[in-house]
Symmetry: C2
Subunit: 257 residues, 2 copies
C-alpha cells in the first residue's frame, strides 16, 4: 500500500481513499485478510505507514518490542549476532509477511531493510486490545507463529545436516515457491540480498555461496543473469539435491521465507 497521499488520489476513487487498507496490494496475503471491512477500519486507525531505506534497521534485538509490522514493499533481513560479529540471519521477510513476533516483550532479533522497505506499523499495546475483541485475529497470529515455527524447524534441518549444495538448492527452490505464490514465474528468481546475506542465512561463507552458484551454472542447473538474478534450469535436479520428493512443499506459507 503506497502511503503517498497524492498517489492514492491517482490510483483510488474517493470512496476507497477513506480506506487505504482495502486497496492494499498485499491485503489478501497478509494478516489483514481475515478482517472484514469494519474491523479493517478500526485497524487503520492504529496503523502508521512508513518507509525505511536500505541498511537502516527497523528494530534491534533485545529492545522493548513496542511495535509490530506488516511488510508491504521491499525485502527485510532479520538476524542475531554473536559477540565477535558472527551473524545468523534467521529469516527474510517480503511483502505480505508479518514481522515483530517477540519473546518476553523483547525483539528476538534485529530487523534491517535490504531494499527500500514499506511497512505498516502497529502499536503492540493497541493491537493487543483489539485482539481481545477479535479472536479471529488472535487465531491468525497463532497461525503465523506456527508457520514461522515450521520454517524454523526446516531451517534447523538445513543448518544442522545439509551440505552446502543442498542448502543452496533448498534456498533457491524456497525463493522460487514464494515467487510462484505471489503470482510470479517461479523460474526467474530475484535475489535482493547479497552473497554475504545468503551465506549468513545458510550457515556458509559468501565464498562458498559464490562457488556453489558457479558450480550449479556449470552443471546447467541454473543460469546467472547478473549477481542478483537466477533462472532455474533443472528444477528436478535441484529438488533432488534439496531432499524434496517432488516440487511442492519447502515452506508452505509465509512467515520467514
Amino acid at each position: 500500500m503506497p502511503s503517498d497521499k497524492a498517489l492514492d488520489d491517482i490510483l483510488l476513487g474517493p470512496a476507497d481513499r477513506t480506506s487505504p487498507c482495502a486497496a492494499c496490494d498485499v491485503r489478501d496475503v497478509s494478516i489483514c485478510a481475515v478482517l472484514d471491512p469494519d474491523e479493517l477500519k478500526r485497524l487503520e486507525k492504529i496503523v502508521t505507514r512508513l518507509a525505511v531505506q536500505p541498511r537502516e534497521t527497523i528494530f534491534c534485538e533485545a529492545a522493548p518490542a513496542e511495535y509490530l509490522f506488516n511488510v508491504t514493499g521491499g525485502a527485510v533481513k532479520v538476524y542475531k549476532l554473536l559477540a565477535d560479529g558472527r551473524r545468523q540471519i534467521t529469516g527474510f521477510f517480503f511483502p505480505g509477511d508479518f514481522l515483530g513476533l517477540a519473546h518476553l516483550n523483547k525483539y528476538a532479533y534485529t530487523a534491517e531493510a535490504i531494499e527500500e522497505v514499506r511497512l505498516c506499523r502497529f502499536s503492540r499495546r493497541k493491537l493487543e486490545k483489539m485482539l481481545e475483541q477479535y479472536p479471529k485475529l488472535e487465531k491468525h497470529l497463532l497461525q503465523t507463529a506456527s508457520n514461522e515455527l515450521a520454517s524454523a524447524q526446516d531451517q534447523m534441518l538445513l543448518l544442522g545436516r545439509k551440505t552446502a549444495r543442498e542448502r543452496i538448492a533448498t534456498f533457491l527452490l524456497a525463493l522460487s515457491e514464494r515467487a510462484k505464490r505471489h503470482g510470479r514465474s517461479g523460474e526467474r528468481v530475484n535475489l535482493p540480498m547479497s552473497r554475504g546475506d545468503i551465506g549468513d542465512y545458510l550457515g556458509l561463507t559468501m565464498e562458498t555461496v559464490s562457488r556453489t552458484f558457479t558450480r550449479f551454472k556449470n552443471d546447467g542447473k541454473v543460469e546467472l543473469t547478473g549477481a542478483r538474478h537466477v533462472t532455474l534450469q533443472d528444477r528436478q535436479a535441484l529438488c533432488r539435491l534439496a531432499g524434496l520428493v517432488e516440487d511442492e512443499p519447502v515452506s508452505a506459507v509465509a512467515g520467514s521465507l
Copy 2:
C-alpha cells in the same frame, strides 16, 4: 501424574481423586497452569493419560495431527529426517512441556520417547472447541508457540555459526538452566539422551560430542560421572564459550529445552 488408579488411591485423598489434574506435579509449569479449577475439570474430561516405552514413537512427521500432548514424566526427542537417514533433532521435551504444535494439520516432526514417558493426551478437535470458550488458553498457546520460536532461533544461531565447543557449552548451560527452573541443583546435569542424540541436536557427530566432552573434562570445565551425568565445574568459562554475557538467558521458558 500417575494414571494408575490404585496408586491414586494411595497418594490422594478422595476429594483430590476426583480431580487428578489438581494434583499433577507439573501443573504449575504446564499449560494447565492458566486454568481455574472449573476449567480444569472440563479439560480432564477430554484428557487421556498414557505411558510410552523408550524408543517408541509418540507420533510421526507428516501424519495427521490428531492429538496434542502434555509431557508429565520422562524425556522426549523430536526430529526430522532426510531421505538418506541424516537426522536433525529439533528439540527435547521434558515434564511440563507442551508437545504437538502442528502445521497445516500435519505433525512437523516425529516424536520419540527417550526414557519411559508419561503423557496427557488431548484431542486437537476437542481442545479447539474449548479454545473458543477460554481465550486464556489460546493466549497461552500463542505464548508456547512464541517460546518455541525463540528457542528455534537461538538454535539456528548455534547451528549456523557456533563451533563444536560453543555448541556443547550452550547445550550444557541450557540443560542446567532448565534443571534450576525445575528446582534442581543446576550444577549436576542429567543427560537422558545418547551422544548420538546430542550430536543430532547440535549438528555434530557423536564422535565430536564425545571428544568435546573429554576436552572439557581435561580443561576442568566439567566432571563426567558416568556417560549420562555431568557436573558443571567452571560455569563462567562455559558461559564465555556459549556467548552469554552472564549466566541467565539461554532459553528463558520451556518449549523445547
